[in-house]
């Protein structure tokens, strides 16, 4: 899977590529509009992570050129501008998703995976982790072949864990993923903790293994090892 990361801030660009490389993707980088446009012209990518505000041009123009040339490429727009206009224009131009800066890397990862899932594995999009099977089309979870009843948030949490397996998920990243704007409040009430506890209980009760490991002072890690 080949990706192009268009982002002018070196620190952010490198963090993204590092994170995604460890997921097994091939990542190329472009720091400005000119490079991005050139690369899009020359090579084919499965996915482009595109920052809209570039020092020498607008990321939306890269998107326009790309969609003329290779409309099958997935595009995830990343922007510091929380402007609704950009979001709408971007999605109108054929972008698949939109993420506002600053974002958590696991969040980006989850979006990337969801996007690729939608675009590529159209036939059978089931996600499997050991004995756990997730069917994101129908929001159904099976452990050892038998369905498990999860609340909406617990389901989202499990999916988030599996997409970011073997990664540390901080409480803040989980709170933001699950509660969005109400993450502060969720943090206040320690909701992440109680949801993780419930999810653990339900998986174990259904005969699954407890894959959720607590990372002291940070959050959790979903891992088979």
């Amino acid at each position: 899977m080949k990706m192009l990361i268009v982002e002018d801030e070196a620190g952010i660009r490198e963090s993204i590529s590092d994170y995604l490389r460890r997921e097994g993707y091939i990542c190329e980088e472009a720091a400005d509009y000119r490079t991005a446009d050139e690369k899009v012209e020359l090579y084919a990518y499965d996915l482009i992570i595109l920052d809209i505000t570039l020092p020498d041009g607008n990321g939306l123009d890269v998107l326009r050129n790309l969609k003329k040339r290779r409309p099958e490429t997935g595009v995830l727009i990343v922007s510091a501008k929380n402007a609704l206009d950009d979001k709408i224009t971007g999605l109108d131009l054929g972008a698949d998703d939109y993420l506002t800066k600053p974002f958590h890397l696991p969040e980006l990862n989850a979006r990337v995976k969801a996007l690729l899932r939608r675009r590529i594995s159209q036939g059978n999009p089931t996600i499997v982790f050991e004995e756990i099977e997730v069917d994101p089309m129908n929001n159904v979870i099976q452990v050892n072949g038998s369905p498990v009843e999860l609340s909406k948030k617990e389901y989202d949490l499990l999916l988030y864990f599996i997409t970011n397996k073997n990664r540390v998920l901080t409480k803040a990243a989980i709170a933001e993923h699950l509660w969005g704007d109400y993450m502060d409040l969720a943090d206040n009430f320690d909701l992440v903790y109680s949801h993780v506890k419930n999810l653990r209980k339900k998986i174990v009760q259904s005969g699954g293994q407890d894959y959720i490991r607590t990372v002291y002072g940070m959050g959790y890690k979903f891992t088979g090892q």
Binding site: N82, D184, D187, L191, S194
Partner: protein, 416 residues
């Protein structure tokens, strides 16, 4: 006291004094002139009487106007001019007279000649003059008051216009003061000074706003880098001690990011950068936000009751309304205890969020200030209510805190 009144008071005191002195001088002068005329007339009459005596003709006796007496001893009247009172049998009272007495010798015979003239007429004349003067003064007074008032109204018009313009002036709106020149030097000077002042204040305000906006924007990227770097770092399975330190840094960065985001939002609202206005149904927004909170409130055993006394709709930006409702709702939830009942009441022109409490909050007027925190709640950024107030400011709504019936309540009033 009005300037005009003070001015009038000074003016009237001074004119009154001047008029009094003037009247006294006038009386004195007129009196003197009349006296002199009378004395002259008496002297002429005396000379005529002497002439008659010298010609040996009979002198007509007409008391008390002319009296001629041969002097054969007895009491003499003192010579010269004198004022005297003489009983008038017709009027039956004493009348004032001016008299001139002279002792003359005509053909070896001594005579005492007394000439008199009544002063009643001259007194009447003086009275008439006095009344006329007073009337004139009064007329002058009234006329001057009227003129003063009329011209003051006209003259002060530019001042009142300036005052009104200043009252209408708002820092947030970027329009200039815009007062037309009046053609009166003093007011034009004031106008120029005001214009300079407001222009400068506005420029300062703009640059301060730009600074906040730029600072928040510039902070965003480094914050994002720090955060993503920490997220990469914790993947490397550092020892527990370092992980703990990283956790602390991470939490602080997250807090900073949230703070920065809220500040950016505030500046955005201040700069009116939320253009799109649509008809927003508050009831819909409230339901959505309450639904989003449902799981959260369930776990805390909180109840949120929606009470609607008529649907609430307004032309506004939908995301701003969402933020307003979210912040007020969040506020009510944050300060509730498990088992509490939160009430969201709405009507055609108001919106109210209440949650139970024991005592009214202290310093209610500071609740809406930026970074105001209630002691013991350090988790909040202290910007939520400031954002609520700012949003209300955009649409001319009013938000206020009240405490009644054991409930903290935040009420938003829409429209008049």
């Amino acid at each position: 006291m009005k300037l005009l009144e003070i001015n009038n008071r000074i003016f009237f005191r001074f004119t009154g004094l001047l008029l009094l002195i003037g009247a006294a001088l006038f009386y004195w002068a007129v009196n003197r002139i009349i006296r002199r005329e009378i004395d002259e007339k008496l002297l002429v009459n005396q000379q005529r009487t002497v002439q008659l005596l010298e010609q040996g003709r009979a002198v007509p006796q007409f008391a008390p106007i002319v009296e001629v007496r041969m002097m054969t001893g007895g009491a003499y009247r003192p010579g010269g001019y004198r004022d005297t009172l003489i009983y008038d049998p017709v009027e039956k009272e004493n009348e004032p007279y001016r008299q001139l007495v002279a002792q003359v010798e005509v053909s070896g015979q001594s005579y005492e000649i007394t000439n008199r003239t009544s002063l009643v007429e001259s007194e009447d004349l003086l009275l008439a003059i006095g009344i006329c003067t007073l009337g004139l003064a009064l007329l002058l007074f009234i006329g001057l008051i009227w003129l003063n008032r009329r011209s003051a109204q006209r003259l002060w018009q530019p001042f009142h216009r300036q005052l009104e313009a200043l009252r209408q002036f708002s820092l947030a709106r970027s329009e200039t003061l815009g007062i037309d020149p009046s053609g009166i030097d003093e007011f034009d000077e004031l106008r120029d000074a005001l214009q300079q002042l407001t222009d400068k204040v506005q420029a300062d305000y703009r640059s301060l706003k730009a600074f906040t906006e730029n600072a928040s924007h510039e902070l965003q990227t480094p914050l994002a880098i720090i955060r993503s770097r920490i997220e990469s770092l914790i993947e490397c399975d550092p020892p527990e001690e370092q992980m703990h330190a990283l956790g602390t840094i991470y939490e602080a960065v997250n807090r900073l990011s949230r703070l920065n985001r809220s500040l950016l939002l505030l500046t955005k609202i201040e700069n009116r950068q939320f253009g799109e206005t649509v008809q927003v149904s508050f009831d819909e927004v409230i339901r959505e936000q309450v639904d989003m909170l449902a799981e959260l409130t369930e776990s805390e055993n909180l109840r949120i009751d929606l009470e609607s006394a008529g649907s609430l709709n307004a032309d506004a930006n939908r995301s701003l309304v969402e933020i307003l409702v979210k912040n007020l709702l969040e506020n009510a939830v944050r300060y509730s205890r498990p088992g509490d009942r939160i009430v969201v009441r709405s009507g055609p022109d108001f919106l109210m969020f209440s949650n139970p409490g024991t005592a009214p909050l202290e310093q209610p007027d500071q609740l809406f200030q930026r970074f105001h925190k209630i002691s013991g709640h350090n988790a909040s950024l202290g910007l939520g209510l400031a954002i609520v107030k700012e949003i209300c400011g955009v649409y001319g709504w009013a938000v206020a805190y009240e405490f009644s019936g054991g409930m903290h309540a935040f009420r938003v009033r829409l429209g008049g």
